[in-house]
């Protein structure tokens, strides 16, 4: 008795949508970051689900890679956020818009 693939895909889609909305509407860098993580994990879920459906491990391996990359990205990203916060006393992304024309 196994859960049908569609449930996983739908759940993954919902999670991704929540993450996307979070990235777009939130202003706190930390929350945006968490939303990005949510998007990544939504994709990981889809990968693992499809991997199981095809009875192959490729998708799961890819999910591991994705996690590793996400971990590295979190390190760099958090460092930037901390350093911006120390300098500006804020983590509002809209307040940091100097990198422009």
């Amino acid at each position: 008795m196994s859960t049908p693939i569609a449930s996983f895909v739908v759940l993954s889609g919902i999670l991704f949508a929540i993450g996307t909305a979070g990235v777009l509407v939130r202003r706190n860098a930390l929350v945006i970051f968490m939303s990005v993580e949510l998007q990544l994990n939504a994709v990981n879920l889809a990968l693992v689900a499809f991997s199981r459906m095809h009875n192959e491990l490729d998708g799961q391996i890819l999910a591991f890679f994705s996690m590793v990359v996400a971990a590295a990205e979190v390190v760099v990203g958090l460092a930037i956020i901390v350093s911006v916060y120390r300098r500006r006393r804020t983590a509002d992304v809209d307040a940091v818009s100097e990198l422009r024309w």
């Binding site: 990235v23 777009l24 202003r27 809209d94 940091v96 990198l99 422009r100 024309w101």
Partner: protein, 628 residues
């Protein structure tokens, strides 16, 4: 000794190298070293002459092979020196007069900051000039030809701080270049026709005997192209405009290059190549016309000059015109005879003029001279001897040489040409007498106190004066005299064509004309009875200006060549600035404005980037979905 002839150009060349690199350290020694080397060259040249004279007359052509120069499949040119009566005559003149001018220059250039370099250039010039006259093929001759042109440029512009000197140098270089280019084409044509450039093969294969070898049209083309080079180098009409301006150079330069040697290179070329000229119907006629027109033109222009050196410059143009005139009548020996005597008396006059300017704090304007015979008697005497020689008063040199030419005109050319030649001779006597009277006679008009020059300048004047006085009688007392017979192996025997007046009658006519010109000049400029300054400010003003401006030839060139040239230059500049630069700059401006619009996208707001990401991703997904 003949085999040592390579020393003749090599010694001055060595001097040029040494004085160029060590001139500063040598100080005044540089001048003496340079003079000594040219003097040594003169000694060697004399030795060559003695050896040559010892040979029988028909055997007096020797080629000294130095080394192979260019050797490709069909073309060969060697560095060979030709020793024959003509080239030996030329090297004796160049080294002899050159030595005296070098010594004089030691005094004249004293205290110049570039003393050593001056002698380096002077030595280099002598070396190239000797190469020019000793070369045994047209290519080597051309090397010398361009070399003297280069030295002429360097020496005219020796005081390049003066804009007039710098532009005169440029003018001389560019003007002669017109002729030189034609000459190079002529040389190329010789190679195409003959397959060689050696004098021996070209000139002894081109005579009337072998006329079928070159069609007459080709002979005419070659001759006229060579003549164009000669016209440029010898400052003949219409390429004469550079020589009066070249007087901006130091006076020893004017004496050596622009009177005694380089400007006569054209005469040498015509005489050397006379076989080619004779193979053509018209070439010699053109030579004759160019020479006669130049002699008349420059004679008239010389009368209107106020600058002492410009008078002498026009005089040189006119005298070289006489030489061309003689060559045009096939009187080659007479042309070379005048070349030799002219080298003496014109160098003498230039150096005397230099002594005058030296004694007057560089004043060259005849209007501000006068009465100098008292302050500088030696210079005045020396100049007068040169002037008498030029005017053709016996027994001075010019009488013999010019008389030969006028007599030849009377014999072979008919009354009209003869009369014109007499007019030109009359003009020569007139302008030079005017110069003498204005500078040395009458009352002093100068502001500064004149003084005589130092011995190092006076001694060369004396030696040249001896040459100017005696060389004519020594070299050509009879029509078939010394120099003419000596040159016979090269230029052929003097044709004793019958006709015309007798020798004595011709001589009397010439002398009477010369003396009447002197008398006329005395009345107008010497006696003090005619107020010539008032006359030329008043009724004679336009004539004076006409002569002073050299019949407006320079102005005509300015209108016909310079102005359109400058207008075209301005037009091209506008085209370059507006159209070419405009296109490039416009492209740049376009990119900039596009970029200015494009960079607005980069807002710095992270969330808008994220939104753009999303939109992009959705767009790609939609695209992929539609494709599937």
């Amino acid at each position: 000794m003949i085999d040592l002839v390579w020393l003749v150009p090599a010694l001055p060349l060595a001097g040029a190298v040494v004085t160029l690199f060590a001139g500063k350290r040598l100080g005044k020694t540089a001048g003496w070293l340079a003079s000594a080397l040219v003097a040594c060259a003169f000694v060697v040249a004399t030795g060559v002459l003695l050896d040559l004279v010892a040979l029988p007359a028909e055997d007096r052509t020797r080629v000294v092979h130095l080394f192979d120069w260019i050797r490709v499949r069909i073309f060969a040119a060697n560095v060979d020196l030709l020793v024959d009566p003509l080239s030996v005559t030329m090297i004796l003149v160049v080294t002899g007069v050159g030595t005296l001018i070098h010594v004089y220059a030691i005094g004249y250039m004293e205290g110049d900051p570039r003393f050593g370099r001056f002698f380096a250039y002077l030595n280099l010039f002598v070396s190239f000039m000797l190469l020019l006259v000793l070369a045994d093929n047209y290519l080597l001759l051309y090397v010398g030809w361009e070399g003297v042109g280069l030295c002429s440029y360097l020496l005219i512009g020796f005081w390049f701080e003066r804009p007039a000197a710098a532009s005169a140098a440029k003018k001389a270089f560019v003007t002669t270049r017109i002729g030189d280019t034609a000459m190079l084409v002529g040389i190329a044509l010789i190679f195409v026709r003959f397959g060689t450039l050696d004098f021996g093969s070209v000139l002894h294969g081109a005579g009337p005997v072998l006329a079928p070898v070159i069609p007459e049209g080709t002979a005419t083309a070659i001759s006229l192209l060579l003549l164009a080079g000669a016209i440029g180098k010898s400052a003949q009409v219409p390429l004469h405009v550079w020589l009066p301006d070249a007087m901006e150079g130091p006076t020893p330069v004017s004496a050596l290059i622009h009177a005694a040697t380089m400007v006569t290179a054209g005469v040498y070329l015509v005489v050397r190549s006379h076989v080619l000229f004779e193979a053509s119907e018209v070439a010699l006629v053109v030579v004759l016309i160019v020479g006669l027109v130049t002699a008349l033109y420059a004679g008239i222009s010389a009368i209107g000059q106020d600058d002492i050196k410009r008078v002498l410059a026009y005089s040189t143009i006119s005298q070289v015109g006489f030489m061309f005139f003689a060559a045009g009548m096939k009187a080659y020996a007479a042309a070379i005879f005048l070349l030799v005597t002219h080298a003496f008396y014109k160098a003498l006059m230039f150096l005397s003029a230099g002594a005058v300017m030296h004694g007057l704090a560089d004043e060259a304007d005849l209007k501000r001279m006068g009465g100098l015979r008292r302050a500088m008697p030696v210079t005045a005497t020396a100049f007068s001897i040169g002037a008498l020689a030029l005017a053709g008063v016996p027994p001075f040199a010019g009488f013999f040489s010019k008389d030969q030419i006028v007599a030849e005109a009377s014999r072979s050319q008919g009354v009209g040409v003869w009369a014109l030649a007499l007019v030109a001779a009359f003009l020569s006597a007139l302008y030079i007498a005017r110069l003498v009277f204005l500078a040395f006679a009458g009352e002093r008009r100068s502001a500064t106190e004149p003084h005589e020059s130092p011995p190092v300048m006076i001694v060369p004047l004396g030696l040249l004066a001896v040459g100017a006085a005696l060389s004519g009688a020594a070299l050509g007392l009879t029509v078939d005299g010394g120099l003419a017979r000596f040159l016979e192996p090269v230029v052929g025997a003097v044709l004793g064509a019958p006709g015309g007046l007798s020798e004595a009658a011709l001589a009397i006519v010439s002398v009477v004309l010369a003396l009447s010109a002197v008398a006329f000049a005395w009345i107008v400029w010497g006696s003090g009875k005619v107020d010539w300054l008032a006359l030329r400010a008043g009724p004679w003003n336009s004539l004076q200006r006409f002569m002073n401006r050299g019949m407006y030839v320079d102005d005509a060139y300015a209108a016909v060549v310079e102005k359109p040239g400058k207008a075209a230059g301005r037009g091209l500049r506008t085209f370059d600035e507006r159209v070419l630069d405009g296109a490039v700059n416009g492209l740049g401006a376009l990119v900039r404005s596009l970029a200015a619009a494009g960079r607005r996208i980069q807002t710095g707001v992270v969330r808008s980037y994220a939104a753009a990401f999303l939109l992009g991703a959705v767009a790609i997904l939609v695209y992929v979905g539609v494709r599937l």
